[in-house]
Structures are given as C-alpha cells and as structure tokens.
Symmetry: C2
Subunit: 113 residues, 2 copies
DNA sequence: TTAACGTATTGACGGCCGTCGATGTGTATC
DNA sequence: GATACACATCGACGGCCGTCAATACGTTAA
C-alpha cells in the first residue's frame, strides 16, 4: 500500500532513486510495445486470433483499407517481433499467430482496455 | 486450438475477413500502448512502482540522464494517460502511480517480457 | 514462353515524437 | 523587493515511422 505522506525535501538537494529496469531492458520492452502500438497491427492480430485457419495476407488490404505494400510492411514487423508465423503455398502467404502469442496478446489487450 | 490446414484459394478472388476491433477502439488501444512504448516512461513507472512514498520529479533528470524539460514532458504524457497523479507542495511536485495502475502496468510488462 | 497474379522490397514523402535551450510562472528565502 | 529554486511550456531541430507508387521476384495458368 502506498503512503500519501510526502517526503521532506531540502532546496538544492536531490535524492538518489532506487535502481529500476536497466536501460537495455527498458529499450527492449519499449521496442516490443512499439510494435503493438499501431491500429492496423492490432486489428491484424485480433483477426488472426479469431481465425481458425491461417489467413491469406491478400484479404487484409480491403479489410484494413490499406495498400498491399503497407499490409506487407505491417506483417513484416509482426513477424520480426515473433508474434506471427507465415506459411507459403503457391503464390499465397498464409499468416497465423505464433503458439504462445495468443495468450500474451490477450493479456496485453486486457491490461490496456 | 488453431488448425494448420491451409484454406483453398482461387486466383483473383479475395475473401471477407471476420469483423475485428473497431477502428476507433484500435486507435484508443494503440494510443494507450504508445504512451508506454518509451524507455524513459517505462523506467519512471518502474521507479514509482517501487517507491513507498510519492517521488519528487526533481530526482528524475539525474537518474534518467535527461534534461528537466524532457522529464516534465514524459510526466505530462503519463498524467494525460491517467497513469500517474501529482501532488504539489511548495515548489516541489510529487508523483505517484494512480490507484489501479500498478496492476495494469505489471500485467502489461508480464505480457510483453 | 508468355501472361497474369500474389508478395516482398525499394525509394520517397509527410507527419509524429523525443529531445533540449530558452523562457515564463510560482514559491520560498534573504 | 530581490534573488534563487523547481517546474511547466514553447519553439525548434532531428530522427523514426506509416504510407503509397513503382519495381522486382516467384508462381501458376494459358
């Protein structure tokens, strides 16, 4: 439980703060969060979460009202972040959530909303 | 459980995707995540989480190796997002996590790390 | 082989954001 | 009052990122 008592301070004197997350870890976390901090990518993840089979990337431009290169760009970000996997068959690319990602994504959306 | 079976597709024919998060909700979520997607703000939240009493903002510039205006800027973002509260006493501004924020932040960091 | 389709990549543009110096405001000390 | 301190705001700069047109690559159909 947090106290409401305010510390007594002295002019011109600053205090040391307790050690926190390391700079490198903070940057890793921030990077992971930045991948999710985009409306299009959130919708992609939500759609993949609902889907019962891998989804063809060709269906997204219409759904998201974005160009094909832009959708491909977002998918690349999600793939680099290890959130989605891709299976190519013929001329099509089918994307799905990586195993274990679903729970993390769900927890994230719950934590924010 | 997700099937690995790939859908059968036809050239030149795209499929409709199931409805997902609305555009407005996706933007809200993305905005909330963007506030957290910064190393400095993550460290601020982590320090406030550990603190047993409200923390004077004057202690952060040294700790984060950032200028005073920059720290003030980050605190403003966190305050606007409803993540922290401020109490002014004399010339000092003391910040603390808003009640209920701690659990949400913790859940978020768990979901990402 | 040629043509059509799906996808990824490239290059360029515009906007957003983190950062800092300078400045303004308020408060306490002398 | 005058000075010093803490804080917020403003203006400007630089870099990152989402977006798209154009292009290149690979695959399938004709």
């Amino acid at each position: 439980m947090k106290l409401l008592e305010l510390p007594v301070r002295t002019r011109g004197v600053c205090c040391d703060l307790p050690p926190a997350i390391s700079d490198t870890k903070a940057q890793r976390l921030a990077g992971a969060l930045r991948v999710l901090a985009d409306p299009a990518r959130l919708q992609i993840l939500d759609i993949l979460r609902q889907a019962e089979t891998p989804v063809c990337i060709c269906d997204f431009p219409d759904r998201l009202q974005l160009s094909q290169p832009t959708v491909s760009h977002h998918m690349g970000k999600l793939k680099d972040a290890g959130l989605v996997e891709v299976t190519k068959k013929g001329i099509w690319s089918f994307y799905r959530l990586r195993s274990g990602t679903e729970a993390r994504v769900q927890a994230l959306l719950d934590a924010v909303s």
